[in-house]
Symmetry: C2
Subunit: 285 residues, 2 copies
């Protein structure tokens, strides 16, 4: 059952999601019901932010004493890293972040939930990645985050492909620093022996896109995952399902993120919340 | 009947109210139901803004492409004037503003509704000020705005008192520029012949405060108004009512403002709204 959201009042805590465009973001419709269910007096609002204004919008929000968190989406995930005071290992590897939290000392900490959410969604769907071999197509922002999260979750071997040799080499060296010898790279997909094949490219957003991998090369029994949410059933997933593969939809990446956000931002049931308020402005002084 | 507010989504337009503190602001609880009733996809949220951060918070909000308006309350009403691109005559006279609107060319325009709201509340309560003689106690921010609004509404003679000679002289010269010869000033209250007596000082917020005027000097038949909202029934109003005067409560000043905001921000029923979106960022470039 849905709880009625608390009306926004002077005591309401504020979260913002920044994107350009921003009209398509789904997070307010997903997160605000969580606030309502937990009885939290908080609201997540969209802020349309052009790339050239990102630093100023983030600065203004950081100065807001009741602003507890900032989400960012395309095209701000890489640029926002420099606007946080600290960031996780995952952010360092991926070179991008999608959530910033104000910590109790007033500083801002950045995390990347794209990869963590993807892995949480996999696990929730019964596709435990630990010990498995994964072929990952795409070494961009999402692909990098997913690569790090998969290795962090115990994937045995990760084969990443991307036509951009520079970013492929860069990603591999960052991954090797934390998980040496577990990553191989190639310009085109290397699906050989993969238990799980992941599309982390935008191919499939448009119905006319070419397929990111040739379906007939998918190893028998492999699970095929896509990070594209719209359409839910991409051409790749349709082709894979037709060949008898289990498929994993892009939407699970977001489902997986909600629980992680709750933990990251320490959203607790109001009855158990003892978090101090307006604790500091260290980084806005 | 209250309409259910539209859920906040990626398309929601944003308004913010800035104050220090901000937890006491009532505007979200007053304005958001208006949005709901009009079917507008918009939300007003509080942003706790310390004085030293005002410029940065306003700058960040101005850069937000879906931010259409900013309300400010204590202690930002004077400082925010310089952060707008243009302002009304009323703001120039009062030296303070409490609402900023993004215009279609992307510039921001400031208005002061304290005085306009007070006059609208007076008129709604049947106390038409045109042609009347008014004694106004207090030439601070609220008093200045009320003085200008009263003269603008056609008050015949305005007697303003304030112990601060400097600000009294300054206000009188600004008022005389627009309404020459209609204002008199004195250090203490000059209630002689007043049809309406207005307290625009903070005296009355605390039950232990002295009265702003001596009730026995209130002219017979005069209406006595207070701008203090809490307590609703100030010591002044209680004393005036006991002497048989009609009294006008502070809350009417806010009631009067809501219709003015609606006009200022062009909040129209969704069915008739044709306003362009994200029209410009001229002043955030």
């Amino acid at each position: 059952m849905l709880s009625a959201p608390a009306p926004v009042s002077g005591t309401t805590r504020l979260y913002a999601v920044l994107g350009d465009p921003v009209v398509q973001v789904r997070s307010p419709l997903l997160v605000n019901p969580i606030f309502a269910r937990l009885g939290l007096d908080a609201v997540l609002v969209p802020v349309h932010t052009r790339p050239e204004h990102l630093a100023r919008v983030v600065d203004g929000l950081r100065c807001g004493g009741n602003v507890d968190g900032i989400f960012v989406t395309v095209p701000h995930k890489a640029a926002v890293v420099a606007l946080a005071d600290r960031h996780s290992t995952m952010v360092g590897i991926a070179g991008s972040a999608n959530a910033l939290r104000r910590d109790d000392d007033g500083s801002w900490y950045a995390e990347n939930f794209d990869g963590l959410g993807f892995v949480a969604g996999l696990v929730a769907a019964g596709h435990e990645p630990a010990g498995r071999r994964v072929a990952l197509v795409g070494a961009g922002g999402a692909g990098s985050a997913i690569a790090a999260a998969l290795l962090s979750a115990g994937v045995d071997r990760l084969a990443v492909c991307d036509p951009d040799a520079g970013r492929l080499t860069g990603l591999r060296s960052r991954l090797d620093r934390h998980w040496p010898g577990r990553t191989t790279t190639s310009a085109g997909p290397d699906l050989d022996g993969a238990d799980l094949v992941v599309n982390a490219t935008p191919l499939g957003l448009d119905p006319g896109d070419p397929l990111p991998v040739r379906p007939e090369l998918l190893p028998p029994g492999s699970v095929v995952a896509d990070i594209i949410m719209h359409p839910r059933q991409t051409r790749l997933l349709r082709a894979a399902a037709a060949l008898g593969h289990r498929v994993h939809h892009g939407i699970h990446m977001l489902d997986g993120q909600l629980d992680l956000y709750r933990e990251f931002f320490r959203w607790q049931d109001r009855a158990t919340t003892t978090r101090p308020r307006d604790v500091g402005y260290r980084s806005c002084s």
